[in-house]
């Protein structure tokens, strides 16, 4: 296999197993001839453009990239990329991608899913793919609503959501996806916003650089059924005060004037303080224990007036794929290649003449 030497320095020991592109690629190389059929104004357009713009950076052969999706608006994504792709069934994309990634270490495998697909019908597969640290990159578009089935509440909808299926308001408390996947032992956890092209690109870059499973929550506006769900994080006037941009090794400081910070209150909880106060915490995405990442995930607009975006956690641990393929290589090194006829005749045999 050819060793990658990509243009931008995105590399890790698993990416090195993937053949390099023979010539520099552009966004156009990743744009399929399919007409894009999301609703006009959907946040998915911006994400698609960002991904198409980012993929050339990987520097790997286009034919060695596969996008697997489930069901839902977001899951149409693979049709619009000129890579290998599978639009599968509801919730199962992480399982299908696991089989593909584990059996083909020479592929870069991506999963595109939504809040209903990943957290509701497919919750189990998401947790286990992350727990195993299979080398797949999961992009979860979170619009906090069911779009394709026309507007029912989702597992990330706020309590009391009035929808067609909950005319008196939804009763169940939502998941916090970042908290959930940190509890599932995810090794890479990040969040970005559909309209933040540069930030989303940097998060995709970090996800690609991470060897192993990556979970990226992307806040995505559904302008038909849940318009404005993330307005506070997106409006020019409020966004800088409403988002905390996480950067490893940097102080947790935010605000239009960079005047606010995060510190630990005397009761042990994280709280917003002045950037100049004593004790402003420094972000550590590489911490072995996910404690700080989990605490940061609990900060929301409701709970703290600020929502962190960026990389919460990024730790390098052995991947399932590597270890399984190592077991095979070890067995072959110790015992030699399998011999079928010898295997069939193993155990107690007898001869009739």
């Amino acid at each position: 296999m050819t060793v990658t030497t990509n243009q931008t320095g995105i590399t890790n020991r698993l990416l090195d197993l993937i053949p390099a592109a023979s010539q520099p690629q552009t966004r156009k190389d990743f744009t399929s001839d399919q007409e894009v059929r999301w609703c006009p104004g959907c946040g998915d357009y911006a994400i698609l453009a960002t991904v198409q713009g980012f993929l050339p950076e990987l520097g790997i052969a286009r034919e060695n990239i596969a996008f697997i999706s489930g069901i839902g608006c977001s899951s149409r994504f693979p049709y619009y990329l000129k890579t290998y792709g599978m639009h599968s069934i509801h919730g199962r994309a992480p399982a299908i991608a696991t089989g593909l990634a584990v059996s083909r270490p020479d592929l870069s495998v991506w999963v595109v899913t939504g809040d209903g697909d990943a957290l509701s019908i497919g919750g189990n597969h998401l947790l286990h793919a992350l727990r195993r640290n299979v080398n797949i990159k999961i992009l979860m578009f979170n619009n906090r609503i069911y779009g394709l089935t026309k507007g029912q509440y989702s597992p990330t909808s706020e309590v009391g959501k009035v929808t067609k299926s909950t005319p008196y308001g939804s009763l169940d408390r939502p998941y916090n996806p970042i908290s959930l996947v940190l509890g599932a032992e995810a090794t890479f956890v990040a969040r970005s916003i559909d309209s933040e092209r540069a930030h989303l690109t940097s998060v995709l870059r970090a996800a690609a650089t991470h060897p192993g499973s990556a979970f990226v929550e992307i806040f995505q506006n559904c302008n038909i059924f849940n318009d404005g769900a993330f307005d506070a994080l997106k409006n020019r006037s409020s966004k800088d005060d409403a988002t905390l941009r996480l950067a490893h090794g940097e102080p947790l400081v935010f605000g239009a004037e960079r005047d606010k910070g995060i510190r630990r209150a005397p009761d042990g909880k994280l709280e917003v303080c002045a950037a100049t106060d004593e004790g402003v915490l420094v972000h550590d995405a590489h911490a072995a224990e996910p404690g700080l990442a989990f605490e940061l995930s609990r900060l929301t607009g409701d709970s703290a007036g600020v929502t962190p975006i960026g990389v919460f956690r990024d730790v390098d641990l052995p991947t399932y794929d590597e270890q399984l393929n190592e077991q095979i290589a070890d067995a072959r090194a110790r015992q030699g290649e399998g011999d079928l006829i010898q295997l069939l005749g193993s155990g107690d045999t007898w001869t009739v003449s």
Binding site: E63, G85, R92, G99, L107, N124, L324, L343, L344
Partner: protein, 628 residues
Amino acid sequence: MSGQVRDRQIHRLDRVVIRFAGDSGDGMQLTGEQFTSETAAFGNDLSTLPDFPAEIRAPAGTPAGVSGFQLHFSDHDILTPGDAPNMLVAMNPAALKSNLKDLPAGADLVVNTDAFTSANLKKAGYSSDPLTDGTLDGYRVHRVPLSSMTIDAVNALESSTGTVNKKEAERAKNMFALGLMSWLYQRPTNGVVAFLEKKFAKRPEIAAANIAALRAGYNYGETTEAFAVVYEVAPARMKPGRYRRVSGNLALSYGLIAAAELTGLPLFLGSYPITPASDILHELSRHKRFGIRTFQAEDEIAGVGAALGASFGGSLGVTTTSGPGLALKTETIGLAVTLELPLVVVDIQRGGPSTGLPTKTEQADLSMAVHGRNGEAPLPVIAPRSPADCFDAAIEAARLATKYRTPVILLSDGYLANGSEPWLLPDRADLPDLPVTFATGPNHTGDNGPEFWPYLRDNETLTRPWAVPGTPGLEHRIGGLEKADGSGGISYDPANHDRMVRLRQAKIDGIARDIPALEVDDPSGQARVLVLGWGSTYGPIAAACRRVRAQGLQVAHAHLRHLFPFPENTGDVVRAYDRILVPEMNLGQLRAMIRAEFLVDAIGYNQVRGLPFKAAELAGVLEDVIKQ
């Protein structure tokens, strides 16, 4: 311990059915397995039937916890594990209680008298002692204090390897029973000794105790007057060649490994543990040197999903399960139908519905395999007929899956999975080559030049090209939405959907031309009654036909390996007879298909008792139908 038979009459028998029965913790499966190994080494033909509870340790001493192992061995070829035992070894009252009903009058019965305490009698539900109350009149009862003699034998060891406690000594009583049976039926025991030494290599004192018990049992038979006769069953005349004993699940595992080699594809198994299929996962996970990737998934759905993902990537994707698991995999199998990717789905059927009878056999899932998906979702369904046949059936499943780019459901069952028989080992030359060709370049010229159309079909087989990721220029997207004929783009066009539904059906229907014709076994050519079976009922049906023919009656037997599509001549076969009898371990799933497909008045004989048919019982049914 050579076969010196002092002052004993030797009875030569052509076949024997022996059953070991005891508590789940008594080691009856191991005892039966070892007796079977001795018997295979001796050269008899044989067939086995383990029968054990779903609970790992059901309450000790109760009928619920009884575990049994039946072995049929002979000097000629046999087809079943036997209807009724000639010899029952009952390790405790519960084992006696739950097995005595199967024992014909005059049969031999060995009972462990030490276990017939008042507490154990009560647990078994006996109000009086069957050893003394006349219950056992009419049997040849051999009362043997197995436990105490085992303890004595172990205590007599002058062991240099350490000693075992009384409980451990008593646990070796199954080896005493095995030794006694080995003497009675003149089996060699050196293989058992080697087995015990290996199994307990880290606890040599346990190995020594078990070997002492084995020898004590053998010597007890030889030196006491308890048994007036010994039995001899001469080796069977079998086809020359090298044999080993194989269970259905082991043969199936080997068949999958062989299929990977024959197709040149890496094997990927995605599976979730479920009885009685887990042994395939266990077996395949051992053989990493063959490049096999086994993945124990978080659930049944992920198991089949991962297998399908691996198939997309060019592996031979396989998933293994049993009935409830097949139900869960349904949606993904439907996806595989429309993606037209190879996938082997192995269903080791068990009693249903729902959790049903996890350790008992049933031909439970034929209807689900053939019909159980949303939409028109045809796929090939095949079934092995015997434990060793699971090897060939697995290869056939992989052949159809890879050649026709389709999921294939392979219906084994609990009886085949755990039962065993001798297997004439194949040579490499006996196995088919199953070359697989991946697409390597464009197959269509469009407005902008050469293109790859993932759903452009082969004219003859109607299969689509299999283009795996990593192939330059063939990047394409597939999915569960209906695809345009040829180009594979999303299509909601009514005429296109109608065409695609018919094309998928025609592709699978066309497999009928690529499978062997249904063979009919009708030695006289005069039969007016056809017995039509499928799967694991082959042995009992064939044995029943032999019995009926031995009485001068005529009957024809045909046995389906391919349940969907049927072989091309199936209609001709079933229409050629006055009556068609379809025995099944369900309420008539094949019978319904035969009636629907061929408009013939097939009649059923149906049992769902969790156990295989008995040959004698089927022979009786056959006689009735023939004489009607």
